[in-house]
Structure formats: structure tokens, C-alpha cells
Amino acid sequence: MFPDLNQSLGTIYFGLFAVIALLCGAGLLVARHPIKGAICLIGVMLSLSGLYAILHSPFIAVLQVLVYAGAIMMLLVFVIMVLNQGEDHAVPRFDRSSVLALVLPVLVGALVVATLKRVPLVNDAGATRGTIQRISEAMFTVGPASPGYYLLFEIGGLLLLAALVSAVLLAKRSLDRRAEEPDGTPANGAMPHAHPGHADRGPAVVSLHDQAAAGSTTVTAAGAVDVSTRAH
């Protein structure tokens, strides 16, 4: 897909993407505003996508942009905005226990560097490019020689479905309570600010109650999808 790059060009591109990724990562570390942090994270992802491309994995590069940067980060940003959180001045960014936390990265880095020094990696000439044909062949060919990743693919799909359903259930509010509210709060389930004195049962209890009250998951899914879209 992409033309072969000669030696120096490859290194330049690698260096460029690497620097952008690291800078964005640092930005994430010190950002105060969650949105700014999310933007930095998107930056990291985009640069990583470029890195995948020059590392002969075009499919993954595109997938990264489409799914990761495009869908997941979008969801994150939406939730940040919905929860109406701006710059958080009350909570400090770092405190005493953060010092303990900074020990870990140092350890990890040192570990990897030490290992690489002792067992240096070498590029193999017979490495395949990650083109769509090759990947789909590897995934969906089921035979005695290579069982393929078909089953994993299907299970991944189920996992995503389960995640969808559980996310919806977790996030929605009780149907009964919404109907009961007498004071004319909009029945679209928009997020009021939680009242500390309000007799609010825990969300986990709420969702369980809903599950029991609603019966089958398909009904709840149908009803819940409605709620979640309105909530967003």
C-alpha cells in the first residue's frame, strides 16, 4: 500500500512519530482539563497509527484510526462533556502517593532496556506484511494446518455485545422512578445533578431492580437503547 522507504527516510518518519507520541503522552500526564488529556491521547493514537503503517501493518493502522481514535476516544470525550466536568481545581493532579506511582514506570523502562541490551532484536527478512488479504487468510482459514482465529473472532463479537448491554444497563436510570417524578423533570432521563439528600438507591441496585422488573433482556435492550440515546 505504501511505497518502500529507504533507510534514512524510515528513520526520520519513525523519529517524527515517536516524538509526537511521547510529547502527547507527556501532555496527558500533566493535563489538568480532561478534554485536553483526551486530545493528547488522540494525538498519541494518530501517531501510533502512522507507526503501524511504516511497520508494514496497514490494516492495523487504519483500524486504529477508525476504531480507537474515532470511536473509543469519541465516546470518552462525549462522556466527559456529558458529565460536565471542566477544569478540576479542587482535586490536585499529583500528591504524595503519586511518588510511589512514579517508581513503576522507571522499573518497567529499566527492565525492558536491560533485556533488549542482552537479547537484541533483529529484523527477519521473511516477515509478512499485514495486508488485508494476508490477515483475512490467516483469520478465516480453518484447516488442519492452521485452525485460524475464526472462533476468537466470533467470541470477540459476543464480548462486544455483552459490553454493550451491560453498559446500557449500568448507565440508565430506573424506569419506575422516571415515571414517578412529579415535579416535571424532563422524562428523557437527562442527567440532573445528584442531590445528596435524595433517597437515591445505588446504581447497581437500580440496574438489578430494573432487570428484575423488566424481565427479558431483549425488552430492556429495546427500551434501554431508547433511554441511552436520549441520555447522550
Partner: protein, 105 residues
Amino acid sequence: MNAIDPNHVQILAALLFALGLAVAASRRNIFFLLMGVELMLNAVNLSFVGFSRTFAGSGSLVGHLSPLFIIAIAAAEACVGLAIVICIVRNRDSLDSDAYAEMKE
């Protein structure tokens, strides 16, 4: 193509992973915790793709396929994680992860 030194790729992946660790472990805002985790996952993806260059034939394909699945799982995890964040913020009206320490009792 042998232009890019695989060791450099791995070191970059390690550095990104370390950064993600630092963010996840040291920031109090729970969004940053989630974002740190995402960063860690991305670093791992980079590592896999980097390794695909160092193996031959079908071994190399693992390096391309694993990131695929990891992205899918990261999506599921982000979804559920954010739903949980919504729940607990509704409860406490605070994004401070330290405020949720009492919930464990």
C-alpha cells in the same frame, strides 16, 4: 525493509507503556485513570506490531492479528468502564478516585 531498528520500536513501546502507567497510577481524576489504561493498551499494540517484523512467516502474522483483538477488547472495556463512571459520578458527584475508597467496605 530493514530501515527501522526493532529495538528502538520496543523501547518506544516501553516508554509509552511507562507513561501510561504513570498516568494511571498517579492521577486522581478517574478519567485520567481510564486514559492511562488506554495508553498502555496502545503501547502494547505497538510492541506487537514491532515484533511482527522480527519473526518469519505465520509467526509474523500474530503480530498483526493480536492488535486487532486488543483494539476490540479495548473498545468493550472503554464502554463498560465509562458506564460505570457515569454510575458512580451520579452517586458521589465527584471525579476524585480517592472519594470512592469507602465503597470497598
